[in-house]
């Protein structure tokens, strides 16, 4: 998939500039957004997913510019899967109902068909026994995997994930990343914000590095890690890898 960002800026009504003149153009299968926290990663991902509007600038996927009006964004969001850091499941619905709700109410499925899709996905990702449970009864890892299943149920053109593992206990991280990897191998287009540098390096083909709202560095996956061009990136990588075994 092709992505093109043209001079993208975001300023919230309350404060300073969160994204400053981001321009970027690339063809990717899996794009990882990395950088220190507060750097604007989530904000950028929300703009790409049509959840918030940029202050100025342009976003295009496969040469089609996203129109930032409420009506067009509704359509845009319906083609995209979005997974949040945590608590993205509707907590009054069971896992299965979470997957069914968008299918029935947004994508016009009959209840029966939606249930079939939901059960199929739950089984595929070894969540068969958890579909009947409420989010509060599930582990963080199970919640995230169901959230990913819900996002995938609509067969999105693009799957966006905002630090899907950062709220998890370390031993649960790999079950979620394994699932993301499986989707990548199936050819799913993915943009992922992550602090899991190993995953970004091995499983993603393109990386962008965001600091203080600026795009500091961008490049191909393994080489960007072995050969950082900016002192900011080398500093960031050494800091984040300091205590890795």
């Amino acid at each position: 998939m092709k992505i093109k960002l043209n001079d993208l800026c975001k300023r919230f009504t309350s404060g300073e500039q969160v994204l400053e003149n981001i321009s970027y153009q690339e063809e990717f299968k899996s794009l990882a957004i990395i950088g220190p926290s507060g750097g604007g990663k989530s904000t950028l991902l929300r703009i790409l997913g049509g959840l918030i509007m940029p202050t100025s600038g342009e976003v295009a996927f496969d040469e089609k510019t996203v129109t930032y009006t409420e009506k067009e964004l509704l359509k845009h969001r319906r083609n995209i899967g979005f997974v949040f850091q945590s608590k993205g499941l509707f907590n009054h619905l069971t896992g299965k109902e979470n997957i069914m709700l968008p299918l029935v109410h947004v994508h016009g499925y009959q209840k029966k068909e939606a249930e079939k899709v939901a059960v199929g996905l739950l089984e595929r990702f070894n969540l068969g026994d958890d579909g009947g449970k409420f989010p509060s009864e599930l582990s963080g890892g199970q919640q995230q995997r169901i959230a990913i299943a819900r996002a995938m149920a609509i067969k999105p053109r693009l799957l966006l994930l905002d630090e899907p593992t950062s709220a998890l206990d370390p031993e649960l991280t790999s079950e979620v990343l394994d699932m993301v990897k499986e989707l990548q191998d199936d050819g799913q287009n993915i943009i992922l914000v992550t602090h899991e540098m190993g995953f970004a390096k091995k499983a993603c083909d393109k990386i962008i590095f965001l600091v203080n709202g600026r795009l500091m560095e961008a490049g191909e996956s393994p080489s960007l890690f072995s050969d950082p061009q900016t002192p900011e990136l080398s500093g960031f990588l050494s800091k984040i890898l300091e205590w890795k075994v």
Binding site: G49, R77, F82, K87, N91, V106
Partner: protein, 262 residues
């Protein structure tokens, strides 16, 4: 010695056994009754409730009127409370401030003042002469403000992630309300709303001030003819308890039920 002490002391985990409940409840009730009868003894009174039987028809009517009044007011105050709770958060500022002023005024003033004010000024000026309708309106306007706060509280307790997730899966605003917000606040407000219903029943007694013939007014009228004030008001207390006690049990049940699910 230890075992006797155990009967009266909550254990470290805060659990209470059935036996503890029975013994202590009985003890509390006995203390209450002893104190009451002792006070009556001092007054040299012998209670005789038998005359109430002759008023059974009027009492039954008054009881029915209180139930009808409370149920109607419950429905209306839910509507008022719901609209003003959402109104409070409206992007249209006049609506927001209207809701805020309403809630603040009603909750900040005693009901007795509102009963007189609304009945004599507004009721007369706008020609609401039917006492029952006036009573329902006054009670609903009063309780609506409290219900408004209950609903607003639970609206605020809905996590922003829930709304963002609704947006992300492509729900529009109305679907978000119907499929996400409404079911979530239902669960959270149901126990408090049940409790508020008990308040409505009790507060409806103040409408006797405008001579609306409900339960309290019926008793007032009966006691003013025979001066059996103690019998009348003790019996009145039991009648209200017979309504509010089941509701209070239901509230507890709902609280427990939903605390597990969330």
């Amino acid at each position: 010695m230890m075992t006797i002490k155990k009967l009266f002391i909550r254990d470290g985990e805060g659990k209470i056994t059935v036996l503890q409940t029975a013994v202590n409840l009985l003890l509390a009730l006995t203390a209450f009754i002893v104190f009451f009868s002792f006070s009556l003894k001092r007054l040299g009174l012998d209670l005789d409730f038998s005359f109430l039987f002759t008023f059974r028809y009027r009492l039954f009517q008054g009881f029915g009127a209180t139930i009808l009044l409370s149920l109607t007011s419950l429905v209306l105050s839910l509507l008022i409370g719901g609209f003003t709770a959402f109104g409070n958060r409206s992007h249209i500022l006049p609506v927001s401030y209207l809701s805020k002023v309403y809630v603040q005024f009603i909750r900040g003033t005693p009901m007795i003042m509102q009963v007189y004010l609304f009945f004599y000024i507004i009721g007369t000026a706008w020609g609401v002469s039917n006492r029952f309708i006036a009573g329902v309106l006054i009670l609903s306007i009063f309780e609506g403000a409290y219900i408004s706060e209950i609903i607003r509280g639970s609206l605020e307790s809905i996590e922003s992630t829930q709304l963002e997730a609704a947006k992300a899966v492509g729900l529009d605003n109305r679907q978000t309300m119907r499929l996400i917000v409404f079911p979530q606040i239902m669960k959270r407000t149901l126990p408090s709303l049940a409790g508020q219903f008990a308040s409505i029943i009790k507060d409806s007694s103040l409408l006797s001030l405008i001579s609306l013939i409900e339960l309290t007014q019926t008793i007032r009228e009966i006691s003013s003819t025979n001066f059996a004030i103690f019998e009348c008001y003790i019996f009145l207390g039991f009648l209200y308890l017979s309504l509010t006690f089941p509701i209070s049990m239901a509230t507890k049940y709902l609280e427990r039920k939903f605390s597990y699910e969330n």
